[in-house]
């Protein structure tokens, strides 16, 4: 997990594949593969493993489509490896599967393309009240914590507070929230997650944290709890954009909040775009009148 992903510049990747840089860009447009990450300067950075898999597939391919399909298939083997390890309750093999995944991808993509699909598959296959899921969920939470510890300190001023309305560690929504936290932290944001079930001390926490955006995440806690928590948060932190993650828009009576994509990867990009794009004026916010009148007024307004 501590190894760095070997990356290639466009010219290096093109040289490895014996194609031109334009060819790589054309494949990215048409096939979505290989899918490069971007540097801070927006330059493409390809993972060596992905390019190497494509190089091998091209040797045996009769068309670009079939070669790309074969290369993607070889990368998907990591998901099967992780699912198999977790189903067999083998922690070392699960860790090894993620190490293998990280040799081909950066952390964000390893989580998005291997860890999350594997856990979703296990939850769907066994149910969220099963032993295999419980084992897998606890392993995933532990793995994410280990990665989180290696994340550099926040480099941006932006702060995001997550109102956690999930059902706890064995809830698939909770895993999505943990991944969202990780992605936001890796993007340099400050993240504070607080349970919506309690409002004691919320004001002090938010005054100290000074968030730029609120995420209401999860659909386990009741609408009343979420509304009360959001109302308290707004009183303490002022008028903030509110987003919903894994929570139905209709079930939250506090605002017409901005619904995020259910994919943590997409959601974190949406959050960053909202903040960078001046979300305070664009996203739905609670008016001072709403705040002074309390949550009942807001509930009535939204009901109408």
């Amino acid at each position: 997990m501590q190894q760095r992903v070997r990356t290639l510049k466009t010219s290096e990747a093109a040289q490895l594949l014996n194609v031109s840089p334009n060819t790589l860009r054309a494949w990215e447009r048409r096939f979505g593969y290989p899918k490069p990450a971007r540097t801070a300067g927006q330059h493409r950075m390809y993972t060596h493993g992905e390019v190497a898999a494509l190089r091998d597939a091209l040797q045996e391919g009769l068309s670009i489509s079939s070669a790309i399909s074969r290369a993607q298939e070889s990368l998907r083997a990591d998901t099967q490896m992780l699912t198999g390890a977790l189903s067999a309750y083998e922690l070392p093999r699960a860790d090894a599967a993620m190490v293998a995944a990280l040799s081909l991808r950066n952390v964000d993509r390893a989580v998005d393309e291997v860890l999350l699909p594997s856990l979703v598959e296990l939850a769907a296959k066994h149910g969220e009240d099963s032993a295999p899921w419980s084992f897998a969920a606890q392993w995933a939470e532990d793995w994410l914590k280990r990665v989180q510890r290696m994340t550099p300190p926040a480099t941006r001023r932006m702060g995001i507070v997550i109102g956690d309305a999930t059902g706890g560690a064995l809830d698939l929504q909770d895993l999505n929230v943990r991944i969202l936290e990780l992605f936001l932290a890796r993007a340099g944001a400050r993240v504070l997650t607080l349970p919506v079930s309690g409002v004691a001390g919320l004001g002090e926490a938010l005054n100290a944290f000074r968030p730029d955006l609120v995420v209401l995440a999860g659909s386990v806690d009741s609408d009343e709890d979420v509304a009360r928590w959001a109302y308290r948060a707004r009183i303490s932190a002022g008028s903030l954009p509110v987003t919903l993650f894994h929570r139905s828009t209709l079930r939250v009576p506090t605002t017409g909040a901005y619904p995020l994509s259910s994919s943590p990867s997409t959601a974190h990009h949406e959050i960053l775009a909202l903040i960078d794009g001046g979300a305070r004026t664009e996203a739905p916010t609670m008016s001072p009148a709403d705040v002074s009148a309390g949550p009942e007024r807001v509930q009535k307004r939204n009901a109408s």
Partner: protein, 162 residues
Amino acid sequence: MSARPLLRVLPSPHDRVPDVRFCGYCGARPEADDDRRVCGSCDMGMVLTASAAVAPQSGQPSIVIDDRLTVCAVSRAAEELLGISEDEVLNRRLVDVLAPAQAEGVGLDSLVSAVVTAVSPDSAPQRAVVRPAGEWGIRYAVRIGVCGPPRAALLVLDDDQV
């Protein structure tokens, strides 16, 4: 001295048709010293080798299938002619794309036999008549030969020769 007329068996077993290299997508022929696997003209096709008697001429539609008779490559011209895209027919069976033209006396067995014969070592290109799957009243003559690497069957549609 005038040359005497010669009697020759045609085709002569000694006159081997040369191999040519072509892009499986756009059909372009790369330069002799260009050994890249990916076509430098269109960026979207693999450069394949086939006998000149089979290889598609410029703009001729072609399909490549593997030994399981599943589609591995579709040229741009074939995409346009058949109204399909390579992505959607990749790994589908050949008969999902091209069916034997039974009105021309071509059954499924004879089409499969033509493909199998065409890719056998030292065999001559085969011919058959096919129609787009699910379409009637349209027929294409198809010449079938071996191409690669890796070894596969190349079907080139001669849409003006039926």
